[in-house]
Symmetry: C2
Subunit: 331 residues, 2 copies
């Protein structure tokens, strides 16, 4: 099993990425190909002990920066770590690609160079969100901002396969993110999707309101890329702002400061709620290859977890299972 | 000044509504007309002492339930407290209407019976959200799920008037809720709105990501009704789930329990972040009347605060100021 990892992706690259990769080869039965500026990656690798022959470097002279437009990986920087990494998947038969770099660039390079799975028209990014119960698989969190109803239907089918095969949910229940629970709520677009889902998705639970996501009562929640993106950014922003406010409040009272120390280990558990870096990566679904997008702020543990998630996808032959599932549902 | 209040609106009506109204007449210089089932409202009123002659009851025999479709106030239940209340505004020259009842029904009755302000095509609900700094006025949080770009432009202008006149911001800065900060991000619809805002809205700050809302760096944030609704429901759901998780975690450790007691007054401050019931009500803007929508779970304090907010709108002659502002901006 050979997994390609973008050594230059993310805010703490290549340091965090290389450290995560070293942990991964020690823990999992997979070899890693690090793609990036060879000299820099080599320098990081030298800081670590790891089983020889398990990590290889492939040189990619340029890097897509986080703020650059998505299309730069296709036009200006065809020799970037993202473009080279995706090509290795396509041309050289490697098994998966992991990147904590520019999400738009990874989506664009994957879509154009790998192409789509049979029966899927657009890519979608799924995200495993920790909830009060267990987790919810939210899709799409930002790949497709102008979807048609059938794209959301395809996402629902892919989400069911992913949560069943990879996350071990026996019969994944699907909800549609909407502004009210009753059928007939929401925009004209939402009503159209609802009808399509009701007809074609098994175990469809109807509309879900955003307030219910963190209760964890649905295995998969389907939405367009704009809504999904809002959900994760609101959650992130609110938890960060709440933490900042808590620190400010605590600092006003010595008694509260002592109380906070006594509660610390418990407060740390709260941070995990809605923390989508816990899973390590967000699978890019619909493209004809196993691609995992890690958060730009990924630490070594997140990179290692993202690699573990791709290993599961490879072991479960996820692309074949998804294609079969979609071909069984007439579209 | 005469303010009409829906006595039957909300999960704790008429009890909470009547209690809030009694507090309001003691504190503010406004008379209240309670609309609802006379017998029930009278029974609640008898429990309180209040200045005689300041609260009047007008009978409305039916009530729109929270789960009923919005149009019921227009067709089936024309004698509901919502329909009667809105008509009092239109026909009898009362100054404002406050309801914690079915939001959709209030929006529908207001739009159809009061009509729109000159230059405004669709209603929008604004919400004052407490943030780390001060507050942000988010609009629309659910009145218009299928807006055209010009509807969002009109919302932006109304939001600027509201935050200036009612909330006292000298030159309100406006942001557009989007999935990225750079111009050119987001859906085709988002790009179109961006362009329109850039050309026609003074003090336009460009795109805002959802993660930034609670930092409070924008006075007004504009979005469509679906996005706004997601924002408030996610925030509400996440804060509730975090609180539930915190209670669960604390109960596991006696030390943490003592710590929590020591922190209690500080933890209570955190609850106010993103708590949109703090302001008491959400102004329904764009209709030709002052209408305030309170949260379904409003307690007496929220009802009182909602009444105070409408008093400010009346004192500032907000409908005239908004109409003037919109007519100055060529649409």
């Amino acid at each position: 099993m050979k997994i390609v990892v973008d050594a230059m992706g993310g805010d703490f690259a290549p340091e965090s990425v290389v450290a995560g990769v070293v942990e991964a080869v020690k823990e999992f039965d997979a070899n890693i190909i690090l793609v990036g500026i060879e000299e820099k990656v080599q320098a990081e690798l030298k800081k670590h002990d790891y089983p020889q022959g398990r990590i290889e470097i492939i040189h990619a002279p340029t890097t897509v920066e986080m703020h650059e437009p998505a299309t730069v990986s296709l036009r200006g920087k065809k020799d970037s770590s993202i473009a080279v990494g995706i090509n290795l998947l396509k041309e050289d038969g490697f098994d998966a690609f992991v990147s904590a770099g520019n999400t738009g660039a990874v989506v664009a390079a994957s879509t154009i160079n790998l192409g789509m799975l049979n029966g899927v028209e657009r890519p979608a990014i799924g995200l495993v969100i920790p909830t009060l119960k267990n987790f919810t698989f939210l899709i799409d969190v930002g790949a497709n901002t102008d979807p048609k109803p059938e794209h959301l239907l395809q996402s629902a089918l892919m989400a069911q396969v992913y949560t069943k095969e990879i996350l071990g949910v026996d019969t994944p229940r699907v909800g549609l993110l909407n502004i009210g629970e009753e059928a007939g709520k929401g925009s004209g677009f939402a009503k159209e999707i609802y009808k399509m889902m009701e007809e074609r998705v098994a175990d469809f639970d109807g509309n879900v309101e955003a307030s219910g996501i963190f209760k964890g009562e649905h295995d998969c929640i389907i939405c367009d890329g704009v809504m999904g993106n809002i959900v994760i950014k609101i959650s992130q922003g609110l938890m960060e702002s709440a933490a900042a406010l808590l620190r400010r409040e605590i600092s006003k009272s010595p008694i509260a400061m002592i109380g906070a120390v006594m509660m610390k280990s418990r407060l740390n558990h709260i941070k995990k709620l809605a923390d989508y870096t816990e899973y390590g990566g967000a699978p890019l679904l619909g493209v004809n290859g196993i691609v995992m997008i890690s958060h730009g702020r990924s630490n070594p543990k997140a990179i290692k977890n993202a690699i573990r998630a791709t290993i599961r996808e490879i072991e479960h032959d996820i692309l074949r299972v998804m294609t079969e599932r979609i071909s069984r549902t007439t579209i």
